[in-house]
Amino acid sequence: MLRKTIEIATPGTRLSVALRQLVIERPEQPKATLPIEDIGVLIVDDRRASYTQAVFIELLAAGATVMVTGPDHLPLGMMLPLDAHHVQTERHRAQIEASEPIRKQIWKALVSNKLLQQGRVLDHFGAKPNGLAAMAGRVRSGDPDNLEAQGAQRYWPLLFGKDFRRDRSAEGINAALNYGYAVVRAALARAVVASGLIPSLGVFHKNRSNPFCLADDLFEPYRPLVDWRVKLLTQERGEEPLNLENRAIRAALLSLFNETVLIGDRKLPLLLAIEAGAASLARALTAGDRTLVLPKSVPLGQDVAADTEG
C-alpha cells in the first residue's frame, strides 16, 4: 500500500501518540491525527518540534522512515528499525559472501539503467540526441571504462546548460537537487534495510565513512527522477531562484514519492517502486535472480492530489 509522506515545519509543533494515532498539535491550529500505519515517511523540519518517545517507537514498529532536517532543510539523519526483516541474518551472510562477479554485474546493471534514465530525462525536455542510450549498451561488468562519469559529463550541460556545475553546497538548482537526492536516498536506505540487507556493504561504493554504500549504489538509477523534477521546477518557476526556505519548493520535491513510474513491467508510485527495487537487489545478491527491477521511465504523472493545507 502507498503510504503517506508527512512534513512537519510549523514552529513549535508537538507530536505524540494516542490510540495508535499520530497526534499533531500546532500553535493556534486545530489538533490533527493520522493513523500511524498509513505513514511512510515523516520529515521534521522544525527546530522547535517536541516529541514523546511513543512517536518514534510506533513509527519504527510500523516500518516508517523518520527523517530530521538541519537548518539548511536538508535531511541530517534518520531512524531505521534494527529488526527489519525476518531472515535478515541469512540475507546478511549471503550478501557478504556474494562474489565479485555478481557485484560487478549488479553495478553494470545499475549504471546502464542510470544512463538510460538520464537519456529519457533529456528526451523528455527535448534536448538534442544525446547518445546516452547507446552508452548504456556499452557498459561492461563493473563499469571499468567509467561510463557513469562520461555520461555525467554529457548529461549535466545538456540538462541545465553548459555553465552548470554540480555542487554539494551551492544554492539554487544544486540545493534543490541535494534536497531531492537526500530524501529519495533516505527512502532507499530504509527499503534496503527492510529487504534484509546491510546498507553499509555496497557493490561499488566503498567509502569508509559512508553507512549507506549499498543504498547509494541502488540510488544511481533513481537520481535522474530527481533531476527531472528539478528541471521541471526551473521551467515552472522561471527566473525565480529555487530556495529551500520556500515550502512550495520542498513540497514539489517531496511529491516525487507519489509520481507514477514504470518499473519492470508495472506502473507504481515511486515510494513503492523503491521498495520493489530494493527487494530485487536483495534477490540479486542472495538468491541468484539477476533481474533488477529498476525505473524505466520519467515520471508518468501524479493523480494523487498533493495537498498543501495541513
Binding site: 503517506k4 512534513e7 494515532q21 493513523p35 506502473k267 494523487v304 493545507e309
Partner: protein, 117 residues
C-alpha cells in the same frame, strides 16, 4: 470494450475510499456498555474518526486497503448488536451535503498522500 483500469491508472478520487462504520449497540447492561466502549476504542485505534454519534469514517488509499480495515474490524465485533460497514469512493464521499441547523456547512477536505503540517 472498456479497458479495465488498474490501480495507478484510476484517478485518486476513484481509487481512494472511505469506510463508513455505522452501529447500533446495546447499552442496557454493564457488560454490554463495556463491549460497546471496547468496540468504539478499536475503531479509533484503527484510524476511524467520529462523524456523528454511532457513525465513524476512515479514509483508505485503495479498495484493497478498505477491505483490509473492514476485515480487521470484523474480527473485533461486539457480541451483540448491529454493525454495518459501507465503502464508497472519495469522489462519492466528497458530494456529501452537510447542514448545521438550516445552514450549509463545508465538508472536510479529502486527505492526500502528502500532507504538510
Amino acid at each position: 470494450m472498456a479497458r479495465k483500469l488498474r490501480a495507478p491508472d484510476l484517478p485518486w478520487g476513484w481509487r481512494s475510499m472511505w469506510v463508513i462504520a455505522m452501529f447500533d449497540l446495546p447499552t442496557d447492561t454493564p457488560a454490554a456498555r463495556k463491549a460497546y466502549a471496547r468496540f468504539r476504542k478499536n475503531l479509533l485505534e484503527d484510524g476511524f474518526t467520529m462523524m456523528q454519534y454511532s457513525i465513524y469514517t476512515r479514509h483508505c488509499a485503495s479498495m484493497e486497503n478498505a477491505d483490509a480495515h473492514i476485515a480487521r474490524m470484523g474480527q473485533k465485533l461486539p457480541p451483540a448488536g448491529e454493525v454495518r460497514f459501507l465503502a464508497i469512493t472519495d469522489r462519492q464521499f466528497a458530494r456529501i451535503k452537510v447542514f448545521w441547523g438550516k445552514k450549509r456547512q463545508k465538508g472536510a477536505p479529502a486527505p492526500s498522500q502528502m500532507e504538510l503540517f
